[in-house]
């Protein structure tokens, strides 16, 4: 594990919603160009944790965070951090496909436009490249002006991935990206994740253990706000060190 380059790291991360502590002393290293899966039963804090990585928890008014999230030698929670710029580098795909009520083209071009790209040719290029990367280009290239809402759920989710890729992030956070999708759409997203890790670092939260074992290189198992065990996916799913992990992956609770 030592020869992997760490891109994101949490140190003694504690998070509170009001009085309730949702994360307890979480230490985690995310390795560059690998897929890291976070698994655990509902309410274990895995979604809360992933939302710390691009500070989406800032939107929750009574949320308080202690500890550090280190990205490029900088604590994401230090006052010097430009949250807007940081979110450009750490993109997010949500549980429910959430394309904007705009055309397919405008959805993908939204991020680049917000970041100041106006040239039509450049935008066209970004849109095409992003849709290609998200394995959606072949299905939509002849109807880019159609409303995104007309796509199927799986296509919408891939559009959301394309939209994230369009701003050229380093890390892509995926919060249960397949939980609203059927098995075929899920399979497409999973093979897409495998392609994405060549250029990007992916962190995925999933409630499906089989998904975690299929797509990820590293897996963290969380329970009641704690990171119980973290390691190579194969090891977590075959010979975990912790009893709790073993009980979870063998389906004894969850």
């Amino acid at each position: 594990m030592e020869n992997h380059e760490t891109i994101l790291e949490t140190k003694k991360l504690n998070l509170f919603y009001g009085d309730k502590q949702a994360l307890i002393d979480v230490d985690l290293s995310v390795y560059k160009n690998h897929v890291t899966a976070l698994i655990g039963p509902s309410g274990c804090g895995k979604s809360t944790l992933i939302r710390c990585f691009n500070r989406m928890n800032d939107l929750v008014s009574d949320c308080r965070i202690e500890g550090q999230v280190i990205y490029h030698d900088q604590n994401l929670y230090s006052p010097a951090v430009d949250v807007v710029h940081m979110r450009k580098k750490i993109g997010m795909v949500f549980q429910q496909p959430n394309p904007f009520p705009k055309s397919i083209y405008d959805n993908v071009a939204y991020g680049p436009r917000v970041h100041g790209i106006k040239d039509k040719k450049i935008l066209d290029g970004i849109v095409e490249k992003s849709l290609m990367q998200a394995a959606l280009w072949d299905e939509v290239h002849d109807r880019l002006d159609d409303p995104a809402m007309g796509l199927s759920g799986g296509q919408q989710q891939r559009l959301c991935i394309a939209r994230t890729l369009a701003v050229e992030p380093e890390i892509i956070l995926m919060d249960e990206p397949c939980s609203a999708l059927d098995p075929i759409a899920t399979a497409k997203i999973e093979s897409l994740i495998d392609d994405l890790k060549k250029e990007y670092t992916v962190i995925i939260v999933t409630h499906s253990m089989s998904q975690a074992s299929r797509v990820s290189d590293f897996t963290g198992f969380m329970y009641l706000g704690k990171m119980i065990e973290f390691g190579e996916t194969e090891k977590i799913f075959t010979s975990p060190d912790e009893e709790l992990t073993n009980n979870y992956i063998t389906g004894r609770f969850g």
Binding site: H85, R87, F94, D145, R163
Partner: protein, 313 residues
């Protein structure tokens, strides 16, 4: 085509369904009754005047001339000025309340804004007449005249009085402010949180998110809010009678006086209602107001549709 048999299949076969249908029919028929009555009473003068009813500038019961052009212009100018004041005011207030203000502040600001709805228009009228009129005469009108007076529509044509289209429009704006604000705020707040999150997660700032995602998504609701405000503005009478001067002429400036259609009806109906032709003429103004509202609503919907529709930039 729908024949009688098709209609019968739409009648609910359970008791509550039938009761609700009956009650719905009462309200629908009252609307139909008003239309019939309005157009019926107005038809003699409308038929007699023809297009001259719209294009005529004379309104004389004794000679039997009925042309509403000046009244129409008065109403149009008043509505335009009102909307120019009320739209930015209420939309920006709504955006602030929905997006920036912390919950406790919105909780404090909402009730007084909503309370404005409950104030009767005659109270707005006397407030405007006894308090704002002076302020407008001595401060607002001279200020506008001295800064923008070189443009003819901002010229203070009667410095001896604060009564003007602008005064009426200002009071009218305050009257429609709560409705438009509250409904716009609601429209903004019902935009799915998902859009907001997606936009922020792409590195858009809050303002970019509001401008590019939330406003367009809320546009249908905002348009509805504006339409309700617009309807109230066009239909308002009491405060307008007191504040706009009721002088039948072509207003040259927003600081000039004017005469609105609704004011004409209110001022004259008490006396002239007992004469057949004048009564018909006054009802014809009512028809004109109705048609004007209809056109404005259609226009607002069209504009709103163009704003909210998805197009490449």
């Amino acid at each position: 085509m729908m024949n009688l048999r098709d209609i019968r299949t739409h009648i609910p076969d359970d008791k509550p369904g039938r009761i609700f249908l009956f009650i719905a029919l009462i309200s629908i028929s009252s609307v139909i009754l008003i239309f019939t009555f309005l157009f019926g009473t107005a038809s003699p003068v409308l038929l007699k005047e023809g297009a001259g009813f719209i294009t005529g500038t004379e309104w004389n019961y004794h000679t039997g001339e009925y042309g509403i052009l000046l009244l129409l212009i008065g109403s149009l100018v008043l509505t335009a000025v009102t909307m120019a004041i009320a739209l930015p005011l209420s939309l920006f207030t709504a955006i602030f309340l929905a997006e920036w203000s912390p919950r406790w502040l919105a909780g404090i600001l909402r009730p007084p804004i909503e309370m404005l709805v409950g104030i009767p228009s005659v109270v707005y009228g006397i407030f405007g007449f006894f308090i704002l009129e002076n302020i407008f005469q001595y401060y607002v009108d001279p200020f506008i005249d001295s800064t923008l007076g070189f443009i003819w529509i901002f010229k203070d044509v009667n410095p001896s009085s604060g009564i003007s289209i602008l005064l009426a429009a200002t009071v009218l704006s305050i009257m429609i402010l709560p409705t438009v604000t509250a409904l716009s705020q609601e429209a903004l707040e019902t935009v799915p949180r998902d859009y907001r999150h997606a936009s922020l997660a792409l590195g858009a700032t809050k303002w970019e998110t509001i401008k590019k995602i939330i406003l367009p998504a809320a546009m249908p609701g905002i348009i509805t809010a504006f339409i309700l405000g617009l309807m109230r503005a066009i239909g308002e009478t009491m405060a307008i009678v007191m504040l706009m001067g009721n002088c039948l002429h072509f207003p040259t400036s927003i600081l000039d006086t004017g005469y609105a259609m609704t004011s004409k009806i209110l001022n004259d109906i008490g006396y002239w209602v007992s004469f057949d032709e004048p009564k018909s003429a006054l009802f014809a103004i009512g028809v004109a107001i109705f048609v004007m509202e209809f056109i404005f609503v259609a226009l607002a919907r069209l504009i709103g549709y163009r704003f909210s529709i998805d197009r490449r930039e």
